[in-house]
Symmetry: C2
Subunit: 160 residues, 2 copies
């Protein structure tokens, strides 16, 4: 059984996103060990310079690296990454599992995305869309896609 | 001010999607006239044949055509459509508005998607992702992107 960790920056605030995420986490429990880690976003000044943002993202990268489960393959979520269909994501996860990868960590950055340090250690940069979604909505979208992917892999009927 | 109608099949059932959609509809009110029309999904037998599905989608297409505001330019949401970034969507909406299009209808199909009849009358087939999302989540994603697009067009700070 795959051991999946989703590492996210910032706490969900909107109740509707918290409830939607909980629903998919509950459903995912049938297919994998799933945990969601919420890390604090590094503080930025109210009108941050590029350098302020860069420094904040580096601090966030430190926190992400510290939180990564030992031996986990990292999948970095980024708008410019590879776009996969739901079926391709399902096949990718199955291929990783058969290839001996038992731990996967998906990482969703904060409002400024992920630093290159995290992207460059990822085995896959995954994009769900060319559109920019708020990172809290992206979390719900990713959890739904993980549920869909594992349901497809198990021959379930959720996906058609 | 743009007059935007989002035509969707089926009522949202999950409270978290209802609440998320309401939030973006409320925010959109600052930028456009927005209405969301929920049409009933046509009934399918419990194990529908391809022909059953086709007939149901045709009935849904009839209902969509009847619901389209007169003179509205149709944008059909489909996974195989054109992918635009949030900025490109914003530019597209602005270009339509300056070109004299004041009414736009976005159409999201039901669980089987949209019939070719609707797709072929659309001025744009828009895809938010190569991934298949449940149509109820797609509604929230679209409303968020419309809010983002109109915020970008107005020089707002929501998008960065």
């Amino acid at each position: 059984m795959l051991d999946i960790t989703v590492i996210c920056m910032g706490r969900l605030k909107e109740k509707f996103y918290i409830d939607a995420a909980s629903e998919y986490i509950k459903r995912l429990g049938a297919y994998c060990r799933i945990s969601v880690l919420e890390l604090s976003e590094a503080r930025r000044p109210s009108s941050p310079s590029d350098r302020d943002i860069e420094l904040a993202m580096e601090r966030e990268a430190d926190a992400i690296e510290a939180a990564l489960p030992k031996g986990a393959a990292v999948i970095a979520m980024c708008v410019e990454g590879n776009e996969l269909s739901s079926t391709e994501l399902s096949e990718k996860l199955s291929a990783m599992a058969s290839g001996g990868t038992s731990k996967i960590a998906f990482v969703i950055g904060g409002s400024d995305g992920l630093s290159d340090r995290i992207k460059s250690r990822a085995v896959l940069r995954l994009s769900m869309s060319k559109m920019t979604f708020p990172h809290h909505l992206a979390r719900v979208m990713l959890l739904e896609q993980l549920y869909r992917a594992l349901n497809i892999a198990s021959g379930g009927k959720y996906h058609k």
